[in-house]
């Protein structure tokens, strides 16, 4: 998956929501109250000179389905923010982006979620699993 977004369209609220999401999922951390460090797939630390999300949301001119060369060719799957996006929505693909490449005025983030490393279980009745999972969770739910 691949995500490109326009900086001009991003509100502070949206950027803050994305920062909170990244921090909660331990993909980035606040440094000096402003910077975020992003740990890349290869283990190197990506340290942009401004808030990472601002780097990730440049002016750009691409559309879903376009091919973009970020060291390898990837297809644009989603633009952010969507016109009808809720104000606090943060697309997973962008929030999970692990690699950012600067080309001209374009910063692009690529995201390849790590695939399965070990099969754990197989269920032939997923609805039954869902029912038990929900019932177990709700059994100790205080807010009813």
């Amino acid at each position: 998956m691949f995500t490109v977004a326009e900086r001009r369209a991003i509100s502070d609220e949206l950027a803050e929501a994305a920062e909170r999401w990244l921090t909660r999922h331990r993909l980035a951390e606040e440094v000096d109250g402003r910077w975020l460090e992003l740990v890349c797939e290869d283990g190197e630390v990506f340290t942009p000179n401004t808030v990472m999300l601002h780097l990730a949301v440049p002016p750009c001119d691409v559309s879903p389905g376009d091919s973009v060369d970020v060291g390898r060719t990837q297809t644009v799957a989603e633009l952010w923010p969507r016109v009808d996006a809720p104000p606090d929505e943060v697309p997973r693909q962008l929030a999970l982006a692990r690699t950012f490449v600067h080309r001209d005025d374009l910063w692009v983030g690529s995201c390849e979620l790590p695939g399965p490393v070990q099969e754990l279980f197989t269920v032939e009745h997923p609805d039954a699993m869902l029912s038990v999972m929900n019932a177990t969770r709700r059994t100790l739910a205080k807010a009813q």
Binding site: F121, V123, H125, M129
Partner: protein, 213 residues
């Protein structure tokens, strides 16, 4: 919430709230035993590929996370949480042979459950313990203490006590009282307590709740 599998073919979910634990299980093919912890809220990401699917595979991902993929390629992911001590289920004969103090029991088997007024009575007691008492006329009183003059009374039938002992108050944590109400809506609920421990089983989904005082 934890998700664990054992090679006898059970996939189990455990939720912990302080000294109260609830677990339920379903059938699955499990390659080797495992237990992983997930945030109860984020774990709902795993629900999406389960809805309407005919087959699903659960895997450990590299982030590390749990990934569930269904037969249509829909995928749900949830990051692993910090591991916690897993509660040990009481022995099946605990209340018969190992109980501490006198054992009290209550079975609720009432069409339609306890109803909204009973739920309101329980939530009004929040966050204190809730007392259930079956009276001589086999009605169920729900109050804030054994001596609660304003206890809510719900007419029977549908309530039975261990050895038919009536007017014996059974005090449970507030969360357990909610679980009793929740479980009674879908089927039979069995409750047993002694001086130290409590055990609840809701038959509708086979979920067990266990706690210590």
């Amino acid at each position: 919430m934890s998700i664990s599998g054992d090679t006898t073919g059970r996939l189990s979910f455990t939720v912990i709230d302080g000294n109260i634990a609830a677990w339920g299980s379903t059938e699955a093919r499990v390659r080797e035993a495992f237990t992983y912890w997930l945030g109860a809220g984020p774990a709902m990401e795993l629900a999406r590929p389960l809805r309407g699917a005919t087959h699903a595979v659960g895997s450990l991902g590299g982030r590390p996370d749990i990934i569930i993929t269904n037969d249509q390629g829909v995928e749900g992911r949830c990051l692993l949480d910090d591991a916690r001590p897993t509660p040990v289920p009481l022995p099946q004969d605990y209340f018969e042979n190992h109980a501490q103090g006198r054992v009290a029991g209550l079975r609720i088997e009432r069409e339609g459950g306890l109803g909204r007024e009973a739920l309101s009575a329980i939530t009004n007691i929040r966050p204190r313990d809730v007392t259930f008492t079956v009276a001589d006329d086999l009605s169920l009183a729900i109050g804030s203490s054994p001596a609660d003059a304003n206890a809510f009374a719900l007419g029977g039938p549908g309530f039975a006590t261990l050895e038919d002992r009536r007017n014996t108050p059974i005090v449970v944590p507030y969360v357990v009282a909610l679980a009793i109400h929740n479980g009674a809506t879908g089927g039979t609920v069995d409750l047993k307590v002694d001086g130290r421990r409590g055990h609840l089983h809701r038959a509708d989904y086979g979920v067990t709740v266990q706690w210590t005082r």
